[in-house]
Structures are given as C-alpha cells and as structure tokens.
C-alpha cells in the first residue's frame, strides 16, 4: 500500500516539474483551433494535443498523461459521457472540463456524477474562461 502511495506521489511530482499536457477533444477542428489559440494567448504553459476523434484521445491518455482534458459532449464516434465512463473504467485521473454548446441543467447535473469533471463551460470559450479553468 505504501509502495503504491509513494509511487503515485513520485509520479505527481514528476508531472508537476514537467510542462503539463493539455488535451482538446472536439469533433470540430475549428473549435479545437479556437481553444488552442485561447490557451496560447492566455499564456498557459502546456503542451497541447487536439483530437477530432475522441477514441484516439482515449488511447493517448495513459501515454501522454494530460493534466487537463477539454471535452465536448456531442460527438459522433462516442459522446462525452461515454468518454467519461471509459476514463472511469480505466482509472484515468486527468481533470476534465466539459465544453459544450448545451446549457441544459440535466447535463450539468449529470456531470456531477464524474469526480474527474472539474468544470462545465458553455461555448464559445474566452480567455477569461480559460484562465479560470487553469487557475483552479
């Protein structure tokens, strides 16, 4: 038990030293472009990977260990909820910020079921919203 704990602590310190990795997951490449620019403009330090296919993003999580994932809900291959379920199943702990054009209270409520979700933002994002996300 102690071994595992020390291992994960070590890993966390490692990831803090490193430049954080950020995933953008949205089937619209333009949205990913906008969000990438916003993050750059906000002077957030991070290596950004954008995915228009959420399945590809899922496969890359364990390898690239992103600190943050900006996740769209409405996508054709798998939707955001399925993406979150997959993360849960595979014990992937990256922080997720849902970024959607739906402002439905039902969706906001559902987001609370996933502990890795730390934010719920409606599109379009702005520098201000980006700063809030990453300064949490």
């Amino acid at each position: 038990m102690q071994k595992i704990l020390s291992f994960s602590q070590k890993k966390m310190t490692n990831s803090l030293k490193k430049i954080p990795t950020i995933f953008l997951v949205d089937d619209q490449k333009i949205t990913n472009f906008i969000n990438k620019k916003l993050i750059e403009n906000s002077k957030i330090k991070g290596e950004i990977f954008d995915f228009i296919n959420p399945l590809k993003a899922l496969r890359k999580i364990s390898q690239l260990q992103p600190s943050h994932i900006l996740l769209d809900l409405n996508m054709p291959q798998i939707n955001g909820w399925e993406f979150l379920e997959e993360m849960k199943k595979n014990n992937l702990k990256s922080k997720v910020i849902i970024v959607t054009s739906s402002d439905s209270p039902l969706d906001r409520e559902r987001a609370k079921d996933f502990e890795q979700v730390v934010g719920y933002k409606t599109k379009p994002l702005s520098e201000e919203k980006i700063k809030k996300i990453f300064n949490q």
């Binding site: 619209q28 333009i30 949205t31 472009f33 906008i34 969000n35 620019k37 916003l38 403009n41 409405n74 054009s101 739906s102 409606t122 599109k123 379009p124 994002l125 702005s126 520098e127």
Partner: protein, 286 residues
C-alpha cells in the same frame, strides 16, 4: 205484519247484502254479474238499463232477467232519456210494441200492457238515466221507486269509483312510461357525454404529444444552430488580438467555413421543419 211490510223487509235485507258485496267489487264485470243476480230480489222487471253520463263518456249497463251487458257509448240517448234530460221529471207510461226494441238489446218475451218507468239522477259531474221495462206479469210499481233510487245511488257510485281507479292506473302507467323514457334519454345523453369526454381526452393527448414534438424540434434547432454560431463568436473573439495577415491566413478561412456550416444547417432545418410541420398538420386532420 202485513204483506207489504214483509215484502219491504225482505227487499231491504237483500239490498243490504247486495250493498256489502258491491263494495268489495273491483271490476265493472263483477258489478254487472252481482247486480244481475240480485235485481230480481228488489223489484219486478223485464229489462233495465242504467246509463251514467259524464262530460267525456257514457257507460251503459243493460240487464234482462238472466242476461247482463255493459259498454261505453259515445252518444245516443233514446227518446225517453232525451225527455228526462230536458224535463228532469220521471216518466211512467205505457210502452208501444215498436219502442221496445229501441230500449233494450235483449229479446224479451211477449209483453202484456208493457210499461216504461224512467228516472233522472244528478250526482254532480255524473248524471244517470235509469229506464225499466215491465208489464202485467212482472210489474214495476211506484212503491218500487225508493229501492230503485237506493240501487242507482250505490251502483253509480261504485262504477264511478272503478272508472276513476282505472283512469288513475292508466295515468300512472303513462307516468311510469314517461319516466322510463326520460331514463333512457338520460342514459343516451350520458353516453354521448362520455364519448365526448373520451374524444376530448384523446384530442388533448394528441395536442400534448404534438407540443412535445414541437419542443424537441425547437431544441434540436437551437442546438444545431448554436454549434457553428459559437465557433464564429470564438473566432471573432480571437481575431481581436491578431495581425491582419494572421487573420487572413488563420482565421478568415475558418470563419468562412463556420458561416457556411451555419448556412447549411439553417437551410436544412428550415426544409426539415417545414416537412415536420406538414406531417403534424396532416396527422391533426385525420
């Protein structure tokens, strides 16, 4: 006790028995039979007819020595009855052979010095005419008038009671029928109302379903339009901090693409919703 006195006593005893039996009679048939069997104890006669007349109808009873008959008659008073109605004075006179057949329906034996006695009685709304044919062999005399009066009183009162009772029963029957009819109509109305309620329920449900469909159409419209619109807004937001060249190279093509997407989605929605609305209104017509 002389002959007359004993004759009276026997007659009144007979009448008293008749009277008590009469009070128990329930039909005109019974009254007719009972009267026929008792008449001979009251006085001598060959034939007797009792007509009770009201505004609406005329009830005739005829008796011979051994036959009885009764019927309702609309009109038709014989000459003696007409005289009685005019003068209201009893008639006691000799009867011509030819007149006999007009006074009775029965075949009478050959009469010797036939006589008629006829009398008028007034019971308010009911009037009565009684006529008796007698002769030397069966003689109705003036001393029989008193018992005839008693008989007529009892007889008319009883027949009137039976008639009123049957009228009342008829009315009751009509009344029951009317109530039944009202009942049937009420049930018809209830079933019509129930049908209407069911129809309203179904229509209301249809309308609610259509409303739900419309709401979901609206939600899909707003969601589909929001996505490219938010891209355009995001790009515009970005463009504020970039150079002209960068804008033209990096942002403008995306703006154009997003605006085109918006246009496509918008046109598609307009087309699709026009079809949906057509479909909805068609369903409503059915």
């Amino acid at each position: 006790m002389n002959f007359n006195q004993s004759k009276y006593r026997i007659t009144y005893e007979a009448f008293s028995k008749f009277s008590s039996k009469l009070s128990k009679a329930e039909t005109l048939e019974e009254v007719s039979k009972l009267t026929l069997t008792n008449l001979k104890y009251f006085f001598n006669y060959h034939s007797i007819s009792i007509k009770s007349i009201t505004r609406n109808h005329q009830l005739c009873f005829s008796f011979s020595i051994n036959k009885a008959d009764f019927y309702y008659e609309k009109l038709g008073l014989n000459i003696f009855e007409k005289r009685l109605f005019e003068r209201k004075v009893p008639i006691y006179e000799e009867l011509r052979e030819n007149d006999i057949s007009t006074l009775t329906n029965f075949d009478l034996p050959v009469l010797e010095e036939a006589k008629i006695y006829a009398s008028y009685f007034d019971y308010g709304s009911t009037k009565a005419c009684v006529s008796i044919i007698s002769d030397e062999n069966r003689k109705f005399g003036m001393d029989d008038v008193e018992i005839l009066r008693l008989l007529t009183d009892a007889f008319v009162s009883k027949t009137r009671q039976i008639r009123l009772k049957s009228e009342l029963e008829e009315k009751n029957e009509e009344f029951k029928n009317a109530i039944q009819e009202i009942d049937v109509k009420n049930k018809q109305i209830e079933s019509i109302v129930d049908t209407q309620k069911a129809i309203i329920k179904i229509r209301t449900k249809n309308i609610l379903d259509k409303n739900k469909q419309l709401v979901s159409i609206l939600q899909s419209i707003s969601h589909n339009l929001q996505e490219p619109l938010s891209r355009i807004l995001g790009l515009l937001d970005l463009s504020e901090g970039v150079s002209k060249d960068e804008f033209i190279v990096d942002i403008l093509p995306y703006l154009k693409e997003s605006a085109t997407d918006l246009d496509i989605i918008f046109k598609d929605l307009v087309k699709k919703n026009a079809e949906d609305i057509k479909l909805l209104s068609k369903e409503n017509d059915e």
